[in-house]
Symmetry: C2
Subunit: 666 residues, 2 copies
């Protein structure tokens, strides 16, 4: 550095604010990069009842001393921490875990300290191995044991054992076993370094992780009482959530008719144009029945392990009571009228959005929360939330927390078909599940990429995908053009890639593929605007039933944690497996994403990772057809004709014994 | 969910702590994932004077409104924030940047808000394009302009312009230009969402990023006065830091002699056994000269743009004055003696480490800091710190901050050859540069992997590698067995992969390759324990001089930011380039890492990324030999004979004109 340069750089040399000594400079251990930790602890990780939280942290100190680390956790309602020792992995990474058994939030953190007695005993072993005189070291050890003994005065038996140990060390007995080390550790002085942040995990019902949704428009069935009669059919097909579009009175002003044209007299209107003189978000449309009918439906469904999911769409028709009782909750145009929804130049004059920038936002928030609470009081525990990304994030964080405070078992599905960061944010804020881009990921490579992204940390720690091959708004080009094989392939993909999936059922079962116009994803004669009568395709219905039974029988398919993609020597074949952590259940799915042609190829399996012995044949049991194949080695041949069945789901079975040239598999 | 299951899950259904409404639920914008941000803002990012800090953030809101975001920054000594607008990239990511011109810390943060007038004007354009009647919208716009105008009352001219604008809108003039939008934006009400964290960047001298180190043992030269006479030679070879091992009095007790044997009478001992009755860490060993001689050396060096770097080794010989004056700073064995250094079963009885767990740690810390300050007062601005990873992290954070408070221009090199997390932590705590694993990365693939890791965020934001092919402790097997080509290759690699590099000079120039024993990295007759007389290899010395001149002439080599590796069709060839952000300076290095055989192959260059026109030939000027090659296209052939020169450094030159079949290059 030249003198000249130094002068110019010294312009800032005058003393700035003094750096104070830290309160305890002897805390020598560092804890960093704890996982799971979402946005620096701003949001909770997510689990369901019965799962395990595996916590890792970087833990290290200066020098070469032995360290110890512990994971601390408690349920939010408990003030008592439970401590679990962490164990060192490689590269200064440590791991511990705890089970979550109750709904609500658990708090966890990490602490670590220098393990002086551990250091001493590790060094003693090396000295002994080198044949050194350890007299002085044994005395040092004895003093450490004595100090621990003094801290053990509340536990007379331990204190006595420690006294015996220190005596033995003084007598030159150098064989200190692991039990003794553990005992000393328990009472040794710990200058603990805390991680400094308390992290959280939100525990939800199992159904937040594994659920099977069926959507239908009640009015096409008849009244709510008629829907009730459909329940056995829906349950027997393997669905456990019945999702109903809004069931509230529908507005008249600017009502939409068939194919989104202005309604003619007698047309029923869109269920999302909520509110009329007959009521708003807390009312049942008279044409569907009464609130009592609805409660009855919820109860009847629960008896079949089906949850009725209600659609929460925070918007109003111009006829909604709110528009008269609370005009201050809406934006007004300079001419005094309420501002309708628009995406310029498009106008949606049948819909008034709420103005979340109103000065009366507190009252608005409370009212919207009360809608959730009202339906929860009617027995609803699952909500599908319409377009949450057009309402402020702080609202959702508050409203969902409030709802969970009263009903910790609620499950909320976010219908946010929007940009990735926004979808992820809504999940972080509290939504249990989220719609995804699945419907538009059709090639094998696109599916591989997208589901790999979703399976990575930190996304997998807070975002639970719920896969829908269709919705009332989405009839993809793939379904429009692919015929029955397309419907079958997308069903198999949704049900095996996603532990949560759903279908907009009646048109899916009916293989409805007609769009309103070319290039559009809108259904022709969409049920959003008119009553439809659907004729199910029996083969499709049977496949749905079989696939849902496969999901029920195979725990690997009930979580997204164990997903792995496998290389297939054909880019039209997508191969992936899911397995339970112990590999007791391993399920391989292979889908031909080309709905038109037979595709064949070799699929590569990482046998060790899947818990399959390398040197023996194993049985691949195809669960849709029931066929059993004997496979061997890493590469196995698959041929899929989409016109018979576009996907295959294999469960691997290990050979347990072999008799008279006949093999028995588990 | 069955009724039964629901009951058991409801065990936690009683109300827990109430969730309060946020203070302002109308703040609708989210700011997340700001970069650079190290460990959630716990540590500053690092820059040098004259660089730019490019800040990115995820910024998004609910709905479809236009947003605006700003980057705010200030020097720590200023209370005045400067605001820079951020611009949207893709996928809700925004970017802004600011220059850092002064040493010390800058503070920065991000804020964002809904841009209502921007939303209005964007929508207006769409309405106009669709030919809609915009009368009501113009009135809404006029009202927004009026509101802005009222807030502009301190700026009469702007207020007048705004009044004109609102009048024009009322008159139906819908052509609002960008200037007008900007003006309204300036005064429009902003409901700003702050990021919530203030992040820091520590700005150091340019030499923290780009430096060329030469290490020598003064006693092998003679006295400090003799070292002074070597300065022109060292400077002319292109070095700008002269690093001296400890220059303090050396202890007698358990002194080490040649080849780490007990010293015989007259042997000089290891410079790292610091302290005798002649003084400690603030004294100059009499055999080297006086403190005045040292100050003279520092001053003479500065005149040649050379910094003298001192070795700070916080440990004592048994004869150090501290052992008598402050026995409380050392650990004591049960027999009352001071605990010597050891790595059981090895003992280092000539060294006493400090006991950082002493109750008197505050006094110890202050004394150790005073050592840095003492030498800074003698003019030292560059310190090489010995084994910082065996002293507590909190000490370094405090001591370095204190030192920088007095001398913001100091540069500290961390000699922590230890595990990755520990090395990174020391860098985060304040060290300017760090030794690396470079010496042990010898294959092309290892080098590619390691330097790719170091070039990734966040590592590159806080960790500045300083590459040493050798040190007094490290004579690698590669150098022991590779002959002159090995020394040349490692020099070229260090100097071009690292903007900071250094050599333990005299034995490197002498091609010293003899280890004390097979399998050891210790030098035979190591200069650590004895005086040596070195004979430089003139070819080696010339290469060093040339390579350092190439570094000086090519700004791309003065930073590690622009490093890219390139595919070479030969695994013994490592190819990489560095370029300035504007591609005005692009340097490609190709090294044959096999010191024994000629290697040849095609090197692939991403022409666009390097700013090279695809369709024209370009000149590759090899800077060591001066040869000029005409290359064309992405693949270019390289052949390297390690016995003539194991590496080539190309500067790309663009053709500026062509005359009479003769091409001129820039």
């Amino acid at each position: 550095m030249t003198a000249g340069r130094r002068r110019s750089e010294r312009s800032s040399a005058r003393r700035t604010q003094a750096t104070v000594l830290p309160p305890d400079g002897r805390k020598r251990v560092v804890i960093e990069a704890v996982t799971p930790e979402i946005d620096g602890g701003r949001f909770p990780a997510r689990r369901v009842v019965g799962e395990t939280v595996t916590v890792e942290a970087g833990v290290f100190g200066d020098g070469h001393d032995a360290l110890a680390a512990a994971l601390l956790f408690r349920h939010e309602r408990s003030r008592q921490w439970t401590t679990v020792p962490m164990t060192a992995l490689v590269n200064d990474r440590w791991r511990g875990e705890f089970p979550v058994t109750e709904l609500g939030r658990y708090v966890y953190t990490v602490e670590a300290w220098v393990d002086h007695f551990g250091t001493w005993s590790r060094q003693l072993a090396k000295r002994l191995a080198a044949g050194q005189d350890v007299k002085v070291e044994l005395e040092a050890g004895a003093r450490m044991v004595e100090a621990a003994s003094q801290r053990a005065d509340g536990a007379a038996r331990d204190a006595a054992r420690l006294a015996t140990l220190s005596k033995a060390l003084r007598e030159g007995k150098a064989d200190v076993d692991e039990n003794a080390i553990e005992l000393v550790r328990r009472y040794a002085e710990r200058d603990v370094t805390p991680y400094g942040r308390q992290l959280e995990v939100l525990v939800e019902p199992v159904k937040a992780r594994y659920s099977t949704w069926y959507e239908l428009f009640p009015r096409s069935v008849g009244k709510l009482r008629d829907v009730e009669r459909l329940l056995p059919q829906i349950a027997s097909m393997g669905f456990d959530v019945l999702y109903l579009p809004p069931i509230h009175p529908i507005g008249h002003s600017h009502r939409k008719g068939a194919n989104n044209q202005p309604a003619k007299p007698g047309e029923p209107g869109s269920p999302w144009a909520i509110g009329s003189e007959e009521g708003g978000h807390k009312s049942v449309a008279p044409e569907l029945g009464t609130l009592a009918d609805f409660r009855r439906l919820v109860k009847a469904a629960a008896q079949q392990n089906v949850d009725v999911a209600l659609d929460i769409a925070f918007q109003c028709s111009p006829d909604h009571p709110y528009t008269r009782e609370h005009p201050e909750w809406f934006k007004h145009r300079p001419d005094g009228s309420i501002q309708y929804a628009e995406n310029p130049p498009k106008k949606y004059e049948d819909i008034y959005p709420f103005d979340f920038e109103t000065e009366h936002w507190r009252e608005l928030w409370q009212e919207l929360l009360s809608i959730f609470l009202f339906w929860a009081e009617q027995g609803v525990r699952v909500f599908r939330v319409d377009n949450p990304h057009t309402k402020p994030f702080p609202f959702w964080e508050w409203a969902i927390a409030e709802l969970r405070r009263a009903y910790p078992e609620v499950i909320l599905l976010s219908e946010a078909f929007t940009r990735p960061k926004v979808m992820y944010r809504l999940a972080k804020l509290g939504f249990s599940q989220s719609y995804t881009y699945f419907a538009w990921r059709n090639t094998a490579y696109e599916l591989y990429q997208y589901f790999t992204e979703l399976a990575q940390p930190p996304v997998r720690e807070f975002f639970r995908p719920n896969l829908w091959p269709n919705t009332p708004d989405i009839l993809t080009e793939y379904l429009q053009t692919g015929g029955r094989p397309a419907f079958q392939a997308r069903l198999i993909l949704a049900a095996t890639l996603g532990a949560n999936y759903g279908i907009y059922g009646p048109p899916y079962e009916a293989l409805e593929a007609r769009a309103r116009e070319s290039g559009s994803e809108e259904y022709l004669d969409s049920e959003k605007y008119q009553v439809r009568d659907w004729k199910p395709d029996e083969a499709m219905r049977e496949l749905i039933t079989i696939v849902n039974r496969i999901r029920r029988d195979n725990p690997a398919l009930q979580t997204d944690r164990g997903l792995r993609f496998h290389f297939a020597e054909n880019e039209q074949l997508l191969a992936y497996s899911k397995s339970t952590p112990d590999n007791a259940n391993v399920v391989l799915t292979v889908v031909n994403v080309d709905p038109h042609h037979v595709q064949r190829g070799w699929v590569h399996l990482p046998l060790e990772e899947l818990g399959i012995e390398r040197d023996r044949p194993f049985q691949a049991h195809e669960l849709i057809s029931g066929a059993r194949f004997l496979w061997a080695g890493e590469r196995n041949y698959v041929e899929i004709n989409p016109h018979s069945m576009p996907g295959q789901i294999f469960r691997f079975r290990r050979r347990v014994r072999s008799e008279h040239d006949f093999e028995y598999f588990l």
